[in-house]
Symmetry: C2
Subunit: 148 residues, 2 copies
C-alpha cells in the first residue's frame, strides 16, 4: 500500500508554536507530510514576509513533523499538489480558503483529497508571526530610537 | 554500549539556519543530542530574548536534530550537564566560552567531555537572531510609524 500523503501549506514567516501544532496535527493524518511553502511573490493577502523564501523553506524542512518541504509554484498553486497526489490537504485555522470552492477546483484537476481544517493552537505563547513581529518592533524599535 | 551523548547550548531566540547548522553538526558527533536552552533570567551578555523561555524550548524541541531539549538551571549551569553526563559538549562559533577554563570547571565536577567548537554557518541567509530582529525593526517599525 502506498504511503498516505498529507499536504500542508503556508508562509511560515517567523516560526512559532502555532506552526508546530498545525504541522504536527497534519502529520498525524497520514504517513508522509509534504509542506508547500508560499513564494515571496505570492504572499499578497498579508504583509510581505520578513524572511526570504529559501530561508523559510530551510526552516520548515528542519521541523520534526515535516518529511518534505518545497516552494510553491510561481503561477499555478495546484501544480505541486498534482505532483504530490495527496490523500489529505490540511488548512490552518486562520487560512482563508473556501473549502467547498477549493474542493471543486481540485476536482477539476482530477484531485479528490480530503480537506481537513486544523483547529487553533490554544496556548498563551506568542503563537503568531504577527505578534512576534509586533513585540520586536515594540521592544527593539524603542531601544533603537533611544540609541539614535 | 551506551549511546554517545552530545550537549549543545544556547538562547535560540528567533530561530534561523545558523541554529539548524549548529544543531545538525552537533548531532553528527554522537547518538543523542541534548540541548540546554538558556533561561530568560540568565541571558545577560546580550539583549534580553524576544521569545519567552518556554516558547524557545518548545521550538528547539521541534527541530529534527534534537532528541531532548531542557531549560538551563537557574543558578548552576553545570547541574544539567552533570545529569546528562555527555561525551561531547559543542560550542557555537559565536559563543564566548574559554574552552580551557570550561574544561577545567567541568573536571572539577568530575566531567570530562570532549569540547568541540562548531564552525560558522556560511550562507547568505539572515543567519542571526540579531539580523532578523534588525530587519523587522527596519521594515515594520517604519510601516508602523507611517500608520500612526
Amino acid at each position: 500500500m502506498s504511503p498516505r500523503r498529507v499536504v500542508a501549506t503556508g508562509t511560515f514567516d517567523v516560526l512559532h508554536p502555532g506552526h508546530i501544532y498545525y504541522l504536527s496535527e497534519s502529520k498525524k493524518l497520514g504517513d508522509e507530510l509534504w509542506v508547500i511553502v508560499a513564494r515571496d511573490a505570492n504572499v499578497k493577502h498579508k504583509p510581505h514576509p520578513i524572511i526570504p523564501e529559501d530561508q523559510r523553506l530551510c526552516m520548515v524542512a528542519a521541523l520534526q513533523p515535516v518529511d518534505h518541504a518545497i516552494l510553491g509554484d510561481r503561477t499555478d498553486m495546484f501544480r505541486p499538489i498534482e505532483e504530490i497526489q495527496p490523500d489529505v490537504i490540511t488548512i490552518g485555522f486562520n487560512q482563508y480558503f473556501d473549502e467547498a470552492k477549493l474542493q471543486k477546483q481540485l476536482k477539476e484537476r482530477g484531485l479528490t483529497p480530503k480537506i481537513i481544517r486544523i483547529g487553533k493552537y490554544a496556548d498563551g505563547d506568542l503563537a503568531s508571526s504577527r505578534l512576534i513581529v509586533q513585540r520586536i518592533v515594540d521592544i527593539r524599535g524603542t531601544e533603537k530610537d533611544r540609541q539614535e
